[in-house]
């Protein structure tokens, strides 16, 4: 028995749709491809076309103490920022969505405001505030500054999940004998977790890639990777920069993949 299948005719509209998609993907991925080409090209300066494939720039990057110190500092700072912004942002979002607070719209806009301010102004303002109040430029000051910029991402993703939340599910748990605290840990938290962690991924990346805020708040010998790369580029423009960029990209990607595996960001993306 053979069933005739209706083939969708490839009309002009569909072709244009595919072409547009291809164009967008190229636009998004081409810079990464170029970085990869430069990172693998052994010439001591950035040039095109590449003359070969070598890992010498990756070697130089991983051998450089300054690079490595900066990389570890950036990873460490970003990890702390991830935890802090999940706690603060998650709590803020819950309060905004559930708290029956007066002036809720204003408060939401207020907590989102770090997103609207140019980061360079945030950095400058914090730099001045820290110096005037005699705090100086400790690492925790840098972490707080990154957290300030990262928290809105967590608030936004968590609010999105809370917006679609069926509160009858919490009521069902309460009728079945769950105290408010148990309702929170047994029902609310598991159900908003994907949104909170999706925000956490953004927070990690925002901190790990942070340049304008960090520029003002790092001290010599205590610089994060983007600042070190910027300083390096002022004098040398070789493949080590490209190699460092590749490492950054891969690290960010792996954070996303690990979190996806652990808690399933797909559940959030579906919303």
């Amino acid at each position: 028995m053979s069933a005739t299948r209706n083939k969708r005719p490839l009309d002009a509209g569909h072709a244009a749709y595919l072409a547009l998609n291809a164009l967008l993907l190229t636009f998004l991925l081409a810079p990464i491809a170029i970085v990869l080409v430069f990172a693998l090209n052994p010439t001591p300066y950035i040039s095109f076309p590449p003359v070969g494939v070598s890992l010498r720039w990756f070697g130089k990057f991983f051998a450089g103490t300054e690079f490595m110190n900066a990389l570890w500092l950036s990873l460490w700072v970003a990890s702390v920022v991830l935890v802090l912004s999940i706690l603060i942002g998650g709590a803020c979002a819950l309060a905004l969505a559930r708290g029956n607070l007066p002036g809720r719209a204003f408060l939401t806009a207020f907590f989102m405001s770090p997103l609207m301010l140019p980061a360079i102004l945030t950095g400058l303002a914090l730099f001045q505030a820290y110096l005037l109040s005699g705090i100086g430029r400790p690492v925790w000051g840098l972490i707080l500054a990154h957290t300030l910029v990262a928290v809105p991402y967590v608030i936004r993703t968590t609010l999105a999940v809370l917006h679609n939340f069926d509160r009858r599910i919490e009521e069902a748990a309460a009728v079945l004998g769950a105290s408010p605290a148990r309702v929170f840990f047994e029902v609310t938290l598991p159900l908003i977790r994907p949104g909170v962690f999706a925000g956490g991924v953004f927070a990690f990346i925002v901190s790990f890639d942070q340049f304008p805020v960090s520029l003002f708040l790092v001290v010599p010998k205590g610089e994060t990777l983007p600042v070190v790369l910027f300083n390096y580029m002022k004098f040398d423009l070789d493949g080590a920069i490209a190699a460092a960029s590749m490492v950054s990209i891969l690290l960010a990607l792996s954070v996303v993949l690990v979190l996806e595996r652990l808690i399933g960001l797909k559940a959030y993306v579906k919303l």
Partner: protein, 326 residues
């Protein structure tokens, strides 16, 4: 299973200090009774149920269950079962975990939980689906999980907020039978909120018809249908003719009217439309004085004996025309 009587005493609830959702409602629901709160949306039936459950706190009035005043008791200490219209299953837990939840909250030993979850699932014919997630179940199956989850803790009171509203007609009818059977077998006091009058008539021991936050009438399905007390009750349940005679409004069901030749009838008129309903036909008759009357003719043969345009006479017994208050 134990069951408890419920008493609402002059319960009032106002939202936003303007909208009166429940207005001085007093209800006595007997232990083991299947009791329906029936009315259109916004009549206060759901708010009343939520007050019994403890989700809403009444502005004034008291709630008693099993002789105990529970007005100020938080939801999680009321020991009730509830089934929601949206089922409200825990989407991140399996069927077995959903059903086990209430037992876990009561710190029942693990081995007993497993046994009782099995028993509850077999009671609603869901054995074998323990490890599914709610999203992998059909609407009817989710309904049963919600029922099992509520009943497994053996609550003295089961609250149902339009639990069958999301099911299609055939399945809803089947669940009506099953729910009623289950309720009788367990002896649990069941408070059932619905806007579907047929459902309320079919399932309830007693019905409270609500309108604008007030109880219009409480009674058995027969009383509510045959002897409506107010115009609202008469109008809300089934088809009705309202006759105004000497300043008194009387309600007359279409099936109480008999068709006869026009001569000597109480009312003479002409058939305007005839709606064929399978077992019966609903005729709209325009009387000579301009009134429009609904007449239900149960078929003896294949179809109604009258067709649009026919001249007919209508008659009925005096005691079938029920005097209404107000």
């Amino acid at each position: 299973m134990t069951s408890a009587a419920i008493r609402l005493e002059q319960v009032t609830k106002t939202f936003d200090s303007r909208v009166v959702a429940v207005d001085a409602v007093t209800l006595d629901i007997a232990a083991g009774e299947f009791f329906s709160l029936l009315g259109p949306s916004g009549c206060g039936k759901t708010t009343s149920l939520r007050i019994i459950a403890g989700f809403e706190h009444p502005d004034s009035g008291r709630v008693h269950v099993g002789g105990r005043d529970i007005t100020d008791l938080p939801v999680h200490r009321r020991d009730m079962g509830m089934v929601f219209q949206s089922y409200a299953l825990f989407p991140h837990r399996t069927v077995a975990e959903n059903v086990a939840f209430g037992l876990r909250m009561r710190e029942v030993p693990k081995s007993e939980i497993a046994r009782r979850v099995q028993a509850a699932l077999s009671q609603v014919a869901l054995t074998g689906l323990e490890d599914r997630k709610p999203s992998q179940l059909s609407g009817g199956q989710q309904q049963r999980v919600a029922l099992a989850r509520a009943l497994v803790v053996e609550p003295p009171v089961l609250l149902c907020d339009e639990p069958l509203g999301a099911l299609d007609r055939k399945l809803r009818q089947q669940m009506q039978f099953e729910l009623k059977e289950l309720q009788k077998r367990l002896g649990v006091t069941l408070v059932f909120v619905t806007h579907d009058q047929e459902e309320a008539l079919a399932m309830s021991d007693r019905i409270a018809v609500m309108n604008k936050g007030r109880v219009e009438q409480v009674g058995s399905p027969t009383e509510i249908y045959e002897r409506p007390r107010t115009r609202f009750v008469a109008d809300f349940i089934g088809e009705i003719n309202i006759l105004e005679e000497a300043g008194v409004a009387r309600a007359l069901r279409p099936e109480k009217i008999r068709l006869m030749p026009p001569g000597g009838a109480r009312l003479a008129g002409k058939v305007e439309t005839a709606n064929y309903l399978g077992g019966s036909t609903l005729l709209r008759v325009r009387a000579a004085d301009g009134r429009s009357m609904l007449v239900r003719e149960t078929h003896v043969g294949e179809r109604a004996s009258r067709a649009p345009g026919d001249a007919v006479g209508l008659t009925w017994n005096d005691h079938d025309a029920v005097a209404l208050e107000g």
